[in-house]
Symmetry: D2
Subunit: 283 residues, 4 copies
């Protein structure tokens, strides 16, 4: 069996579900998952389908062509069709190791449907971890003067490895517009606060100062505006006056790991659709 | 516009989604919600649809007939079609008032899509609350000797008011098989523990004795076996050694209210399907 | 037995715990609860004690005098001593009834250790609820021009009833500095967001727009700066793209009720200490 | 400064707090943490103190002697006094690596106040992980016939390394009474369910079958009765009908890691007191 995942969005309009499901049936596909959402405020329709086809007769290119020239044109659909293939993820890290260990542990156990062609860092601290998991590690130092040059090197690496998306696992550097434009809604960041509270640096310090009773963690696609991109996943932990900043940071590490890993899983399983700087997360 | 909700389950088989959506399109319906689930272990397919039809030409009886004789027969579907109409809920209570207040508050605010023809109790304690919300209150006392007789009275009331489903809002009485058979998967109970832990009476006492760090609450459809029916909703609260049994009971009240109200909302919105003593809860 | 609760804070210094506990023992008190906290950043010590004394020989006034002139002076303590007496709470409401029902339901069930001499509103909508619980209801309308006058009336009511603290149960009006100064850290508000995110009006609309995956609720003491006072309690609920603004508001109501009630309980049980615009919440 | 932690429990009685704090002051100690709990049902008093002494003049042995012959005798205290010293933890594992990675990651980052003299397993699968963290790994295979012999070897290892407590990080073997007797309330297990629900093997399978909407994880001290020992920590995750058994297991891994690590931290920080098969967990 060949399996594809189909993501669609368009202006909400009658008969769209029936037309799409009918098209798939006529092309000898069997729908094994369907979910849809309508944003009533914006009048936008979203749909996610998984379909199976007989491997021998099925050509994804033919299917895409037919889909494009018939349905997609009629309903003015924005769409994407994915074959069942592990996407390639680049891991950007700096000095913190907790998210890196967490992701690599899951990767090793087969929990993540993806490949990791390389890990990239502006520091050498985490190279031994990459080594012990036998994943190539590239060290590209960044200083104010070399930033543009360093990003060119990054881009070259990303392209030569055919990277599909990037995960900033506590990367601690601001990524420039050049990279964002090349990977729109494909760079996943973990921010160590419950956004939109505590944007920017040192959120645990700000949370401590404000005396909040809950801390949070947010995974989002990065956009040009700092910590303001579409939110994929959030979670929280309860804290109290007994927690020092150091305690908040330690508690936060557990949040960061799980929230980031969940976001990665949603992304690679094609469960996220982005529009208006928000996300639809299919089940 | 006429709106219907369609619930289907059957053996999993190819083309079922396309066939159903196509059938609706051919009958001039527009699908506004679709979700499905496949239990891969049992090989059962579940689907929930909401469709809109032009009110003038649409007859739900005709639609049901056509659906039954064509699709339903072909795929051997088990199905239900609901018009958009407030179901009638009977509220059974005893002496505790927290769930009653909570439900009536939501009812008054328009949060619940249902009618409450009456409140029934084996005690008179909560009559003033029913009065203040201007809902008829029936008092049917129950003793060991009068139980069968009392249930006959209950059944008469339920039937004469055209009750669709029953909510046991801390009713504290075991409901007999007679009633359960008349209202299969239509009697919603709130059990004050995280089932299957602490079945039966006094779960907070058992939780205290076991020294658990979390208490829970479970809403389920009742079946002949005590506290073993299909679970609709559960939630929990963290507790510690500082909580006495009285504290657990107070904390538990908040859980019970919210879990029961959520279960009622899921039920009246036709989001629950029951099979194998489990539930599928659509989003 | 006479029971008192003693709250202390001061510069952190050696021997303070031993000195206080010793003082109580020497005055024939038995400590039944003790907890303390040190803010290591600010070097401030906090302590909460509950002590029992023989009712016949014990005079709280004598005890206060002795405490003040010996211990309190030596260690430069800031302190409060409370007898076990129900504090008087004024409830300010507007048109939303969910927090009001929730508080009155708990009040009726004996869950809250307090008295409610009156409910005050700028609208008449909730008078029937106050009536059904047999609590006096005062209607003081507020317009831009009459605001100062209205607050004078409010103050007169508060003083004539010997009110100890005020709860704004979705009161929807900004309280002026005059009232805040008279009741410092004694006016509890419920804000319908996870502060500091979404300060001000319409937080659910802002949360919807930002596409957050979690909404929150925050109870805090009001200060002159809007929604920036010391946080007493916070809680959250998970939401998704399927939730409309109306859904967020409905889900939020459950949060608001529980968070506000918890804050009230902490306050009346003297478990909250305020400093530096933050709270210490004893267990 | 020398710091000690003092844990006390005894029959509840007057003046105990003042007497203990006074004793410490008289011995030139400064109390930096105090918390207490009274189980009113059982009439038992619990207290935890942290005290600092001048390192030059302080002898913990002298202090213990004095404490024992004066206070402890008078009040019939059960007590323990701990110097500030990293306890030695033995890690027992089998084939699952997620808890092992999680613990070693925290250990490396300095989050855990303990030493790990060795990791022990009945299989060789996880040896490479132990190697990469440079911790000695002992392989003691276990079969039905060799179990008694294997436990003797284990005991020898534990004793020769001066092990203070044992963590079963998904060890998957039933530990015999011999070992439990040697390490009473010192063997921490992680059970992959919300105890007391789903005792024994394959709890995720049972949870799936029962159709629960929440899964849990429980860390407890092991006792002779299976999965019935004093609970240290529990946490839960929400699940739905969409989760297969495999999904429950994956979600559960995250729970297990965090719950077990939290239990370890509570244990090494001397925050746990056990009585009546329950725990008091100090803040």
């Amino acid at each position: 069996m060949s399996k594809i995942t189909l993501l669609i969005h368009c202006k909400d309009q009658p008969n769209i579900i029936a037309s799409v499901t009918n098209f798939i049936a006529n092309n000898k596909g069997n729908i094994v998952y369907i979910d849809q959402h309508v944003d009533r405020e914006q009048n936008i329709f979203f749909m996610r389908l998984e379909c199976e086809f007989d491997s021998i007769s099925f050509s994804i290119e033919n299917f895409k062509n037919k889909f494009s020239t018939t349905l997609a044109d009629t309903f003015e659909l924005k769409w994407k069709i994915y074959a069942e293939k592990k996407p390639k993820m680049a891991l950007f890290v700096s000095k913190y190791d907790h998210c890196l260990y967490d992701i690599l542990g899951r990767y090793n156990s087969g929990e993540l449907f993806l490949e990791i062609p390389f890990i990239l860092s502006n520091h050498l601290d985490l190279k031994p971890i990459a080594d012990s998991f036998e994943i190539p590690f590239y060290h590209i130092p960044i200083s104010r003067n070399t930033k543009a040059e360093a990003e060119k090197e990054q881009l070259k690496l990303l392209e030569s490895h055919g990277i599909d998306f990037i995960v900033l696992a506590r990367y601690m550097q601001i990524v420039s517009g050049t990279l964002i434009d090349k990977y729109p809604n494909k760079i996943i960041n973990i921010h160590h606060s419950f956004l939109p509270a505590f944007v920017g640096a040192k959120p645990y310090h700000s949370a401590f100062k404000r005396g909040v009773k809950i801390i949070g963690s947010t995974s989002h696609y990065i956009t040009e505006e700092l910590d303001a991109g579409p939110i994929i996943e959030q979670d929280i932990a309860h804290v109290s006056h007994t927690h020092s900043i150091k305690d908040l940071i330690a508690k936060g590490r557990d949040l960061e790991k799980i929230v980031l890993s969940n976001a990665i899983k949603l992304h690679v399983n094609r469960k996220v659709m982005v529009y208006n700087n928000k996300t639809v997360i299919f089940s």
